[in-house]
Symmetry: C2
Subunit: 234 residues, 2 copies
């Protein structure tokens, strides 16, 4: 792996509190690789052999069933993914593919599990990460069950603006069809939902979105910390 990647990985919640020895040991057995866009990293049903850490680029986790597909999560740097399957040493429930050219660190699950057994700090971090991931999925399920398509779009726009540091304008970080799938709708529905929101506090120009009336948009979305506030510690 490249040395310049290390500080970012070291500062992940997962590794922040871990001893240098353990961290270096894990990095020594990991390898970093660059992948082109639209490449399948792994497929649901395969055994989870590696914890993946996205260093650069972006990755979609998606699920396939009966010829249908749904994006379940969009991963941004720097963060790990499919921790749960690695911990339990079971099969992936989701497939992963790169959206852009991406650099990914692959950490053998067997080494991760060994390190967890050795180091309580790592175990604690994994626990916290899993709890956070679990709650993230609960939020997503709530979002899907309780909100309409348009409400989900409005809430996502607000959430994204917030995660970007409270900005008002941004360009969509992924293609609209992927966002649509992530939000549980078709690209056509997303397009129409966005159009419909033009009178509800946003301005559009292609992939560029400007939130012109945060209050109004929040009212449409029914913005709720218990669904939308990803900063988990509330």
């Amino acid at each position: 792996m490249r040395d310049e990647e290390k500080p970012a990985i070291r500062s992940l919640p997962l590794f922040r509190e871990v001893s240098t020895q353990t961290f270096e040991g894990l990095m020594a057995v990991s390898y970093s690789q660059a992948f082109p866009p639209q490449l399948d990293l792994f497929t649901q049903g395969e055994r989870a052999d590696f914890l993946h850490i996205l260093v650069e680029g972006s990755v979609a986790l998606h699920a396939d069933w009966n010829g249908r597909e749904a994006v379940m999560a969009m991963v941004r740097p720097v963060s790990s993914f499919i921790l749960a399957a690695c911990i339990r040493d079971v099969r992936y429930l989701m497939s992963a593919r790169t959206l852009e050219r991406s650099r990914i660190l692959m950490l053998p699950a067997v080494d991760l599990r060994a390190a967890i057994r050795r180091e309580p700090e790592l175990a604690a971090a994994v626990m916290s990460e899993l709890a956070s991931g679990y709650r993230g999925m609960v939020r997503q399920a709530k979002n899907l069950k309780l909100r309409t398509a348009r409400e989900r779009v409005a809430a996502w726009l607000l959430g994204h603006a917030h995660r970007q540091g409270g900005v008002n304008g941004f360009t969509l970080p992924v293609e609209k069809r992927d966002l649509a799938s992530y939000l549980g709708m078709t690209p056509e529905s997303l397009s129409r939902a966005l159009s419909g929101l033009k009178t509800q506090g946003i301005a559009l120009d292609g992939a560029r979105v400007i939130i012109t009336d945060r209050e109004r948009l929040a009212a449409v979305a029914g913005y709720d910390p218990l669904i939308d506030e990803v900063g988990d510690d509330i």
Copy 2:
């Protein structure tokens, strides 16, 4: 707490590998309480002060937003619930209410967290439980995003029959409106979905269901281990 409850709790994945000393210590600070049906145990947004363990009865975890409600999970004995919120010391994302008269053991989250710090076996069990819970929510989100209402009903019937020990006939363990909400549809839609399945391998008599043609029902459901097989270790 009652002594006759202990063995069942002791044999939970969470406590199975824990030292007797730690287990007894945790039991000593917990208390067991019986609740009538339809009682609210806690409400989303409240601070998670107790890990709950359902000893007897049944509990629904539900989410509320903007006047709408959705059942997110149905808990059956003996199992713990809202572990993630307790670990992270944050607010509940879901509310809980009893469906029947229930006996619940309440374990102070602060004591649980202390015990986890002391005992690696407990930490390992919590990790495993959280990973399992996370994967359960992923399955649920896949179910919601990929399947139609009728397919979800068919899959649930098969899954329930399987969890009951591979039986063909059973009576619904909860009221149909709660099942409907859990499956992400209205009671009317559940009723119609069940009716529609009468020609697809099931027979109905009120809350009693008999699977007459497992193959056929599985074909309608698009039964998939990566969504439906709750025994996680595949």
